[in-house]
């Protein structure tokens, strides 16, 4: 079943058991893909594992990983949020409006921006579960609506970070490692939420078998709405972190690009699009794979036009490998 041939020096059974154990971890395949990519890029360019470049990679990875953490929860409960990338663009403007126009202190202003994000999630959730509009359609509508609000209120102009917010800038993404630290904490917290709490259990139950869960007493609607709110709040937080990192608030930031990247990271990391199973740590590695690919291609010097082609092939190859390894993992035991 397992294809690794153990070195002669070690006892065969021990190695086989070790490999067995590793492959039983749900994230094993994506971790192998990540390691493979890192080895490849380090072999092609010696600067890959330098501190400066790791910081660059961390900025590719962090926003995708944070949004993916929420998106995984939502996907596991059987829904999807397409509007999160536009909440990302709106949130820093809300912070800027609150601070510069209404004199709100910095931290409450950020809290307001994230709370508005949560409210958008609430509306997404209510429309989806109460009015029974499929979440794909609900959030597609919300995508345009939020984008319109952002463009109108900002007059589609970029804006500097509010002066008063400079004091907290380095905590919120301006310091080199700040953003990835946020991402790792959020991934850890939400992985525990998913795999170690009742909320997580209910989320999986709702996505796996909605009627069964409902009959077993799980409040299906509440779980779904809660997860919509989590995604949107995380989208808002990410937008704010990124605006501090870029040092400017941009009307075209985020958008569908970051949303698709987060969904891709979740799916590459082993979350089922149809719901019922998923892992946030896997999505983190999915985000790392995407970030390593993007950064690595820039390091090697691949031109923009060819970039998407190769990225697409790489994602497909990573996915095929992932599915193949997943089959190895569960082979004979399902």
């Amino acid at each position: 079943m397992i294809t690794t041939s153990p070195p002669v020096a070690l006892p065969r059974r021990f190695v086989r058991r070790g490999a067995d154990w590793f492959l039983r971890i749900r994230e094993a395949s994506i971790i192998l893909v990540t390691i493979g990519l890192v080895i490849y890029f380090q072999a092609s360019t010696p600067v890959f594992l330098t501190e400066g470049n790791l910081i660059t990679i961390s900025h590719y990875v962090a926003p995708v990983a944070i949004i993916a953490a929420g998106q995984v929860l939502l996907l596991v409960s059987g829904e999807i949020d397409l509007s999160v990338g536009h909440v990302y663009a709106l949130a820093p403007y809300l912070m800027h409006f609150a601070i510069d126009y209404y004199g709100v202190p910095v931290l409450p202003a950020i809290a307001i921006a994230i709370a508005v994000g949560a409210c958008i999630g609430l509306v997404n959730g209510l429309i989806t579960v109460v009015l029974r509009v499929p979440s794909f359609v609900t959030t597609l509508g919300m995508l345009f609506l939020i984008s319109g609000i952002t463009l109108m209120t900002s007059h589609a102009y970029p804006t500097p970070i509010p002066e008063k917010a400079r004091s907290v800038a380095s905590w919120l993404g301006a310091a080199p490692w700040a953003e990835i630290t946020w991402a790792l904490i959020i991934v850890a917290v939400f992985q525990i939420l998913l795999s170690g709490t009742r909320w997580g259990l209910h989320t999986v139950a709702v996505g796996g078998n909605q009627h069964g869960a409902s009959e077993a007493g799980v409040r299906v609607n509440r779980v779904k709405i809660g997860n919509f709110m989590i995604v949107s709040s995380l989208g808002a937080l990410t937008g704010i972190l990124e605006s501090f990192y870029v040092n400017s608030i941009e009307p075209l930031a985020g958008g569908a690009n970051i949303m698709f990247a987060a969904v891709a990271a979740a799916v590459i990391g082993g979350t089922a699009l149809a719901g019922g199973s998923g892992t946030i740590v896997g999505a983190l590695f999915g985000a790392i794979v995407l970030g390593v690919l993007k950064d690595g291609f820039n390091l090697i010097g691949i031109n923009a036009d060819r970039f998407d082609l190769i990225l697409g092939i790489a994602i497909l190859a990573a996915m095929v490998l992932n599915v193949y390894l997943a089959r190895l993992r569960t082979g004979g035991r399902t």
């Binding site: 660059t56 463009l151 102009y157 990192y245 870029v246 941009e250």
Partner: protein
């Protein structure tokens, strides 16, 4: 001597993955002659006594294959096709390598990522379209700290604030070009009414200053008017839709301006489609995309402004190369890639010839011209 150079150029050309015909033409010298002329022009413009070698790169010592990274805000936009040809041609001449990267749709975060990656990768030089006056300050300083020369091209922060410590800007001074756009409008007989200014991405510093310049000139002129700015988007189909929708809803507009290549292209097509010229509407814009030239020729656009995108790729490579070669002694210099009007009277010289310099042809060839050179 000549044999020797050709071999080196040939090596560089091999990296370009050209088709055999283009490759042969490139090597046969058509591109070398014209590019060499531009190189000489550059050196003279910089006030440098140094002469370019008599045979292309042949006079320069053997250099490592330096790699220059171009970070662009709309990597797939047709405006930058000639820019990329300019980069490729200059790199072929100088035996350098380049990377064309950035964002497909003006996402500043992606451009910052690409710039930082270029610094990590120890690129030999960076050319950057500074479309945000704050986001690139840090990355450019990091590049300079790492000993990587940085120039800006096509966009250079705000009119009064370049936003980075780049060594030089190669492109059109944007605010002034916007002023010219409106001055030309006044000179062709605008006497007042609604003025609409179409802009792909408002606030983007590669185009917003033009709109501001046009607005200011009209304000200063004292002509009674109503200036409105309309966002169109970054891809042509969306721009067409946005402009057509607006013009159908606002049939009273008297003057239509566009401040980016895509919007100008779309504006010309829409003016023709809605037959707005019959109502005496005046229209003008920027750049020489093939669709725009057809519109000028057909009369639906009164004028368009050329800013020589080819040079915006070609010259940065030469400047970065010379900086590296001279150990920083020959420093990049601000270069205005010119501002000239293309109208019905002179459009033929642009529209009838398909060339690499306007992005309408991939082939290398000598473009013939005859007759006097227009002057004041």
């Amino acid at each position: 001597m000549r044999r020797h150079i050709d071999a080196r150029v040939e090596e560089a050309v091999d990296t370009l993955a050209l088709n055999p015909v283009a490759r042969r033409r490139l090597l046969s010298g058509a591109g070398l002659a014209s590019a060499g002329l531009a190189a000489t022009a550059l050196l003279t413009a910089c006030g440098n006594e140094q002469q370019a070698g008599t045979a292309g790169a042949g006079n320069f010592p053997v250099t490592p294959k330096w790699r220059f990274v171009f970070v662009c805000h709309v990597t797939a936009h047709p405006f930058f096709t000639p820019t990329q040809y300019g980069i490729a041609d200059a790199c072929a001449l100088l035996n350098c390598d380049y990377q064309w990267t950035g964002s497909k749709d003006a996402v500043v975060g992606e451009m910052v990522g690409a710039t930082n990656a270029a610094v990590s990768a120890k690129a030999d030089g960076i050319a950057l379209a500074v479309t945000d006056a704050r986001a690139f300050t840090g990355p450019v300083n990091a590049a300079l700290d790492a000993g990587i020369p940085v120039v800006s091209y096509n966009a250079d922060g705000e009119p009064t604030n370049p936003g980075t410590n780049r060594l030089a800007y190669i492109g059109q001074p944007l605010y002034n070009s916007g002023r010219s756009l409106a001055q030309q409008l006044l000179s062709i007989g605008f006497t007042g009414g609604d003025v609409v200014c179409f802009i792909a991405t408002p606030g983007s510093l590669n185009i917003q200053p033009r709109s501001d310049g046009a607005r200011d000139v009209l304000k200063e002129s004292g002509v009674a008017h109503n200036f409105e700015q309309i966002a169109t988007g970054t891809d042509l189909p969306a721009e067409l839709n946005a402009i057509e929708a607006y013009l159908q809803g606002h049939p009273n507009a008297k003057a239509l301006l566009a401040v980016d290549g895509g919007s100008t292209d779309a504006l010309g097509k829409t003016v023709a489609k809605l037959k707005l010229k019959d109502k005496g509407v005046l229209a003008g814009g920027f750049d020489l995309q093939p669709g725009t030239l057809e519109s000028v020729k057909g009369g639906s656009l009164d004028y368009t402004i050329d800013q020589q995108p080819y040079l915006q790729g070609f010259l940065p490579v030469f400047m970065l190369y010379l900086y590296k070669l001279s150990g920083g002694l020959v420093s990049p210099c601000d270069t205005n890639t010119s501002l000239s009007f293309v109208t019905k009277s002179n459009v033929d010289q642009f529209a009838n010839v398909k060339t690499r310099f306007e992005g309408s042809d991939t082939a290398q060839k000598i473009v013939p011209r005859s007759g006097g050179i227009p002057h004041k």
